[in-house]
Assembly symmetry: C2
Homo-oligomer: 214 residues x 2
């Protein structure tokens, strides 16, 4: 295997898009989902995010990153979350990943992106934000915290899980969810969708005890 070293000072040797692709691939296979929101007029918005991350279980918190928000490049998802204080996260599966990817196009704010992407807009349990009907794993969250990242003016949105809707058959007796059986995909780079295949589940690690498969 020949290894290549790229230094940050080499950036000038790459065109902007190639550099962006390289950096986007370095964060590994990324957690992805469709973020569903409504405007105050109940116009539905969808956003593909590939920066979902676990923040904590108690209280149950998840986060994701949104790009800089400005009057020139308004982030409709951020506007809606600020106004409504809630949003949904919907796992993407092979059944509808192309429709989901279409949500990353720049649609005008007054266009319902559920309709535009031919995805079902559904409401559940009196939750104010809309879910994606096609998604097998649907999560409703209330805004917990919005964080400004000074380094590049992006926004981290942290939500507290209010409700989840998941297929009964993926729930193991100890709480583990077989999300591969629900068809959840993962993204690499900006645009590549992948299935995941389990290698092993490992025991809780303790010093001086070898890790075993469980």
């Amino acid at each position: 295997m020949t290894q290549k070293t790229i230094l940050s000072t080499d950036q000038a040797n790459y065109d902007k898009r190639s550099w962006t692709r390289i950096i986007n691939c370095l964060s590994g296979f990324k957690s992805t989902g469709l973020v569903g929101t409504d405007s105050s007029d109940q116009v539905g918005n969808l956003s593909v995010v590939s920066s979902l991350f676990h923040v904590g279980a108690n209280p149950p918190l998840m986060g994701f990153v949104l790009r800089p928000h400005s009057s020139k490049s308004p982030r409709h998802t951020l506007i809606n979350i600020r106004e409504q204080s809630c949003f949904t996260i919907n796992h993407i599966t092979e059944d509808f990943y192309k429709k989901a990817h279409q949500a990353s196009a720049r649609h005008p704010y007054e266009v319902c992106e559920f309709k535009k992407c031919q995805l079902q807009k559904v409401y559940k349990q009196n939750f104010k934000a809309p879910f994606v009907g096609e998604a097998k794993i649907q999560i409703g969250l209330k805004l917990a915290e919005e964080i400004h990242v000074k380094s590049n003016n992006t926004h981290i949105v942290i939500g507290e899980i209010n409700q989840i809707h998941i297929p009964e058959h993926i729930i193991q007796s100890d709480g583990f969810l077989n999300i591969d059986q629900a068809g959840t995909l993962t993204v690499s780079g900006l645009d590549t969708y992948n299935k995941a295949q389990k290698i092993a589940r490992l025991s809780y690690a303790k010093p001086d005890l070898p890790v075993t498969e469980i």
Copy 2:
């Protein structure tokens, strides 16, 4: 498919570990890596993180979450990053994922976790933080920003990429990296390691144009 709804108010019906497993699975297939750091005495520390996320490409930024830091539960990784202002992220592959998982055990601060986990500690390009020799994708980062998450006292560490070391054969002409060919794994829940298999790479989405495979 029978769908099950779980409300946050149902938490009382679950034991703490089951609840933690459920919530950890909801964030999808998670980006994982070994974070490598040195103490001021050059004692190596390793931490498995499963919350890596892309923050931006220009400047090149990545982040991850660390659990609450206290005198009772000190986070050695955080101590080292604060002291040295740098760290490495090393993708985990099937060749050494069990050794990597062992790094999540609570080892004393004065124990070199590279040695304890039988992983090679290597230095490159005068970078102060150590890389994992077995990793095919190695990233050296300088601390850009530490963010306190008020909602649960966790810490988000944002690093700026200083250098990367990757196999030459995974680099496509447009910058896309075939990280699956480098064997990069993804984690679900707390303890389950998965391979990824590409379904398709999709075209840049534009309004009113169908998404195509590229």
